[in-house]
């Protein structure tokens, strides 16, 4: 009986949710300077598409809150704006990586409410077009034989997502001493790619959207995509799994909300993100920007983030990346 009453109550609350919470003066925080992935996540799927679909009244304000690789925004949301129901914040796999490595000044993934993802950028390992390596196996075998002779260049810091993707592949390939795999960090995927084009680094680790223009120009060759299936943008490139390395590296684009919001507000935002993810407007823009479909919402997404944080924490611990 109690359970039954609870269910009734839940349905009533749920049905009231859409009646009760009406957003106003909505805001999206991009935890980095204009021009990056988080900024895009706020400006395009949130501000632009939500307004186009009429999910929010008027327009959404986008605030850039730079610092600490997203940590400044995270701390600000948890401590200063914990019950702001009109606020969502852009996040990605980089956010989960930093939470896993405890670099957000003691905050954890449980400090906020994860809303949902609207797409993902799958990882790639690529080489310059004049490189002798034709497949991921060629490269991985060469690196495994003499790790000291090869440098990977990527756009994230040491221990960051681009670095981790290489280590995950090497780990699958049976390389014991992952610390011997060399990685040099640059400011963003574009700068790292220049290193491969200039012949200073052996291979590039990054995301699909970062390599498309150079692939089209024939300057860069992708050896493997870290996706479950082949991606439409690179149909002839085999996935890492096909080549024997069971690694899936999705850099998802998502949103979280402050911890103290009501369930009505939480459900409102989860539903809004769901509608964005299903809309034609967003899917056109998503494909133009080289992002793959990646649909996880509400509790499913929250569980996914928790699992991913735990996995990355484990790898980082094994690698001695944690302080």
């Amino acid at each position: 009986m109690k359970r039954f009453m609870g269910a009734i109550l839940a349905i009533v609350v749920w049905s009231l949710a859409f009646a009760q919470f009406s957003p106003k003066n909505t805001e999206c925080i991009a935890p980095a300077d204009p021009g990056g992935g988080w900024d895009f996540t706020c400006r395009v799927p949130a501000a632009q598409v939500m307004a186009e679909l009429g999910l929010i009244p008027g327009s959404m304000k986008v605030t850039n809150m730079t610092g600490g690789g997203g940590g400044v925004a995270y701390a600000n949301v948890v401590t200063q704006r914990a019950d702001d129901e009109n606020l969502i914040i852009a996040a990605s796999t980089a956010t989960a990586t930093r939470l896993a490595q405890n670099v957000f000044a003691g905050f954890t993934a449980d400090n906020v409410r994860w809303l949902g993802a609207v797409g993902a950028d799958y990882g790639v390992i690529a080489v310059s077009n004049d490189s002798p390596y034709q497949t991921l196996n060629d490269l991985v075998d060469a690196v495994a034989a003499a790790p000291g002779d090869y440098v990977f260049a990527g756009g994230s810091a040491i221990g960051g997502w681009d670095h981790l993707k290489v280590l995950l592949v090497m780990n699958e390939a049976g390389v014991e001493d992952l610390g011997s795999v060399r990685y040099v960090a640059f400011d963003g995927g574009g700068a790292a790619m220049i290193e491969v084009l200039g012949g200073r680094a052996a291979a590039f680790t990054g995301d699909i959207s970062e390599v498309l223009a150079q692939v089209e120009a024939g300057e860069i060759r992708v050896l493997g995509v870290l996706s479950p299936d082949r991606v439409p943008a690179l149909p002839e490139v085999a996935t890492a799994t096909e080549q024997g390395y069971n690694v899936i590296g999705a850099n998802w684009r998502a949103f979280y909300a402050p911890p103290g919001i009501s369930d009505e507000a939480y459900n409102f935002w989860v539903d809004a993100i769901k509608q964005v993810a299903a809309s034609e407007e967003w899917n056109t823009l998503r494909e133009q920007n080289g992002l793959a479909e990646f649909a996880l919402f509400g509790d499913d997404f929250e569980g996914f983030v928790r699992d991913q944080v735990a996995i990355i924490h484990g790898i980082s611990e094994d690698l001695g990346l944690l302080q």
Binding site: G35, F40, I194, Q214
Partner: protein, 504 residues
């Protein structure tokens, strides 16, 4: 001559009424934004992105508007440097060296006119380079690795010798302080945090804008407050408002050299306009400053940084358009805009989207002409700002600084930091420590450290990597020349005219 017909196509795009209107709006907004301390083109463009989408503007029109704001701000940001000794951005710090002394001598008019002309010169010459050498230069940018950047920064550091007017030891101490400030935050490459005192907002290091505004604007306001005769004093405007032909011709070669060096440095995605201004200024000081007038109101000292920073701003478009790598914060936003139109900049941009590349190049010509026409007639008006009593002007500067700095990151912490640096700047002024070397140290320190780390990572700790390859060797030769030539020249002139020097 294919280039000319493509450029003709570009002009067809740029001269559409809507695009002319947008380039004018961009140039005007940019000039105004450039004048305000703290507020940069990056904020203005970020605000305008959703509006251009809402208006349904095509991609080339949006990028024409945004580029107009970007180079327009390069014209505007010299105005407060010259008139008030308050640079709004790091790339206009060098303009204060001679611009402000000129204003103090009542020659604000010629200084402002020179700045507009030098900006135009640098802006248009570099568009010429952009059109003819973009593919070639993007290849050069690829050749520039961490070792090359590191030695380039060493070369840039020799600019310090031109900032040591007066006490060399104090200038060195200032530069060292700048280098120390550069170590605040997450260490490059890794995950160790330095000197942040647990403050998350310091993880990314000190923001240039906060430091520049604190050091220059706030400390200038405090400095005036601390003077005894408060407020009553009004600057004079003596003589001509316009620049003379002689001043112009004396600066011609200065502008040419500075535009070329500024452009090349602008093309390197890892360097930037601020470094271009320091290098141009110190190079010109060594080449043309025979009577030691640089730093005391020499108009050529305004021409050098102003042509260099405009030229670098245009140069920064090359890696953005042809490699997809932004060379500055503003080009990063423009890149993001193109991406959201579904246009991916890269090696094929010129083929696949000729309207974007050539339309932009042509509109830059149009925009620079507009800016020259917009700026020159107002020189007299701008110079009159000096006639406003200080007690009216300085509170306005203070207000704008606070609003501007807050608007960058929406952070009250930045305001505290800026105020702290304001007081520190005041103490340094009163005790005779120059401020510019701190900025130089901060800008170069970060880039030097990260590129040193990367280069040594590549070479497995072998330092000989800094002496290999043609580019590195050329940079070392330039560095040595920059250090030794002035000494050699001084010795030569001493021998030639012993009487005059003894008399000094």
């Amino acid at each position: 001559m294919e280039v000319l017909s493509l450029l003709g196509q570009g002009f067809a795009v740029a001269l559409q009424p809507i695009n002319i209107l947008l380039v004018f709006a961009g140039a005007l907004v940019g000039t105004i934004i450039g004048m305000l301390p703290g507020v940069g083109p990056i904020n203005a463009i970020a605000i305008l992105i959703p509006i251009t989408f809402a208006l349904g503007l095509p991609a080339e029109s949006s990028i024409i508007l945004f580029a107009g704001i970007y180079y327009g701000s390069q014209y505007g940001n010299s105005i407060s440097s010259i008139l008030l000794n308050v640079p709004g951005t790091a790339s206009s710090v060098v303009t204060t060296f001679d611009g402000y002394p000129m204003a103090q001598q009542g020659r604000a008019g010629p200084a402002l006119a020179m700045s507009a002309i030098a900006s135009f010169f640098g802006g248009t010459l570099s568009i010429f380079f952009l059109i003819f050498f973009a593919p070639l230069l993007s290849k050069l940018a690829i050749k520039f690795g961490p070792a090359e950047y590191f030695v380039l920064m060493i070369f840039a550091f020799t600019a310090l010798s031109s900032l040591t007017e007066g006490n060399t030891l104090k200038a060195l101490a200032s530069a060292l302080f700048g280098l120390m400030l550069a170590t605040v935050g997450l260490e490059p490459q890794g995950t160790t945090v330095r000197f942040t005192f647990g403050q998350l907002k310091l993880y990314d290091g000190l923001d240039f804008v906060v430091l520049v505004i604190g050091f220059y604007a706030v400390s200038e306001v405090l400095n005036i407050l601390s003077e005894t005769q408060v407020g009553g004093e009004v600057r004079k405007l003596t003589g001509r408002v316009m620049i003379s032909l002689k001043e112009l011709t004396s600066s011609l070669w200065v502008m040419l050299r500075s535009s070329i060096s500024g452009f090349i440095i602008g093309v390197m995605p890892g360097a930037g306009a601020t470094i271009a201004t320091f290098i141009a200024y110190s190079t010109e000081k060594q080449i043309v400053d025979r009577n030691n007038t640089f730093g005391k109101g020499d108009i050529r000292g305004v021409a050098a940084p102003e042509s260099a920073n405009n030229s670098a701003a245009v140069g920064a478009f090359i890696p953005m358009l042809s490699l997809g790598v932004p060379g500055s914060g503003t080009t990063a936003v423009i890149l993001a805009t193109l991406l959201s139109y579904g246009i991916t900049p890269g090696p094929l941009l010129m083929q696949n989207n000729p309207d974007i590349f050539w339309g932009l190049a042509a509109s830059m010509y149009v925009g620079n002409f507009m800016l020259l026409i917009l700026n020159l007639p107002f020189v007299g008006l701008f110079a009159r700002i000096l006639l406003v009593p200080r007690w009216v002007l300085m509170p306005i500067v203070a207000t704008l600084s606070f609003v501007g700095v807050y608007s960058v990151n929406n952070s009250a912490f930045d305001i505290l930091l800026m105020t702290a640096f304001g007081f520190l700047g005041l103490i340094m002024r009163k005790t005779g420590f120059p401020l510019a070397p701190v900025i130089l140290g901060l800008v170069l320190g970060e880039l030097m450290e990260v590129n040193l780390r990367r280069a040594l990572n590549y070479s497995n700790g072998d330092w000989s990597t800094f002496f290999q390859g043609p580019i590195v060797i050329i940079l070392w030769v330039l560095t040595l020349a920059s250090l030794l030539l002035p000494l050699a020249l001084r010795r030569l002139t001493k021998r030639a005219k012993p009487g005059k020097l003894q008399g000094e």
